[in-house]
Amino acid sequence: MKVRYFAWLRQRTGVAEEELPLPEGVRTVGELARYLGERHPRFGEVLRTPGVVRFALNQEYVDADAPVGPDDEVAFFPPVTGG
């Protein structure tokens, strides 16, 4: 699967995107975030505060309980500030 990080979350992981197999035991976007939070502790820190990290699954906004599969693209980012 493909994982992407944007804005200051990218600065916390140190990578803009990574390819990885679906981790064992991970069924939802929220579980994936916690798994990745262990790989990138500074990303893991900010996951503890609700609302700071937003999720997209295959380029649609989703909640933490959205199910993920091995071919999905998941993105993590802070609230948007365009316009």
Binding site: A56, Y61, A75, P78, T81, G82, G83
Partner: protein, 153 residues
């Protein structure tokens, strides 16, 4: 029409082209958002807009479709830049055309309000003290929520 681009654009020239394209519509509203030159007392030296390629275009097209579902628009246009830009440079242009001015004006406000809270862009400002990511504003969420309430009426 949606355009997401790194290149600068000229809002006056874009408005001219938009007016020509929808010649029959009596009312054309537009909004231009530019890089501000200061935040309170802090000078802004430059701004970088990051976006999510692919998802950005998709969300903007959805927001435009929603506007055209809610108001009888003859035409609409959203241009949004990404990348690094200087104070005063245009970031975004929204334009709407309708037979009646109130439809054009409401749809224009709606487009910019929803774009600000739903399109995946992130602003980083460079100040004399260094670079910082702009925080989302509660007032933007409130402005966008007006239209959710209006739809439920």
């Amino acid at each position: 029409m949606i355009r997401v681009q790194a290149e600068p654009f000229d809002p006056g020239a874009e408005l001219t082209a938009f007016l020509a394209r929808c010649g029959g519509a009596g009312g054309v509203a537009s909004f231009v958002g530019r890089v501000r030159d200061r935040d309170g007392a802090t000078p802004i030296l430059a701004m970088t807009l990051e976006h999510y390629p692919g998802m950005t275009e998709r969300k903007l097209a959805e927001i435009e479709s929603e506007a055209r579902r809610r108001w009888p628009l003859a035409d609409s246009l959203v241009i949004h830049r990404y990348g690094r830009m200087l104070p005063g440079e245009p970031i975004v242009l929204v334009a709407t055309a309708a037979a009646h001015r109130q439809d054009a004006l409401a749809a224009c406000s709606f487009l910019i309000d929803w774009l600000k809270t739903r399109a995946p862009f992130w602003k980083m400002e460079e100040t004399p003290a260094g670079a910082r990511w702009v925080e989302a504003r509660a007032s933007d969420e409130e402005a966008a929520a007006r239209w959710v309430l209006a739809a439920a009426d």
